[in-house]
């Protein structure tokens, strides 16, 4: 038995409009939401560290079946509401109904 709440509930409560563009693929309009960022001091075993926010984004597999590294996600910054472009940099986790990805801001050109 799967006791987890359905993804739709989280998307309905916390979801933000997003445009997801995997490399060499047409943009997809969807809904995404942020998980609380984790702040970690890196490099972990160094005496000189910078505390960085790791930004975690959840994307529905129903709308975005594939989400390779380099995928660009345009979604509002949680704090400011400003729509920014983010690039998928790493996979934190994957589930049957969603991707959980670490993103970095795309530098403004």
């Amino acid at each position: 038995m799967d006791t987890r709440p359905p993804l739709e509930a989280a998307l309905g409560a916390f979801g933000l409009p997003a445009v997801v563009t995997p490399p060499d693929t047409a943009p997809v309009e969807t809904t995404a939401f942020w998980l609380p960022p984790t702040a970690e001091a890196v490099p972990g075993d160094s005496r000189l560290q910078r505390r960085e926010r790791y930004r975690l984004l959840v994307l529905s597999r129903a709308d975005v079946p594939v989400c390779p590294r380099g995928t660009v996600v345009e979604v509002a910054e949680w704090e400011t509401g400003e729509v920014l472009a983010w690039k998928v940099d790493a996979f934190e986790d994957a589930d049957v109904d969603h991707h959980r990805v670490l993103v970095l801001p795309v530098p403004e050109s």
Binding site: P43, S46, Q49, A90
Partner: protein, 173 residues
Amino acid sequence: MSATISKRRLAIEALVDRLEFITQANDYNTDAGNLIFVGESPKLGEDDPRSALAVFVRDDQPIEGESAITRAGICRYRLPVEIHGITTPEEGVSPGMAYEGLISDIKEAVEIEGREPGSISAAVSRSLGALGVTLPTGLERGTTRVQYREGGSEIVACVVEYSIDFEELWGHP
């Protein structure tokens, strides 16, 4: 009588003076010389400069083949020093090239005293500080280590080790 400024301190000050030369205005790859920590282990935040350095002095040790204290009351010892650097790659620069740039900055700044912008001066220096602070060829480079960028993070880091050889009279550090 004024307080003694030890050779160790003079050498570390000279090392930091050289590291402060690392700015892009001086034709280095980074501005790491604008933020240097000595003897502290900081955790920087998002609002701090993207590049920084920290100097750590390790436990000293006798120079190979000698005891720490010679019969004539002269102490010769080697002081290992680690220079830690962090930076975030500029746009279009790979993480690997970013830490290589930082490593190059540290080595040039430490080993070529007062390199002029745009020059390829070969005025290398094998000692630190004024004459007699360290032994004449008392500055040696050790190993270089790197820290790779992790997924979701932008930071790369490196460590360049040096050793500094001193000769002190007993009671006159």
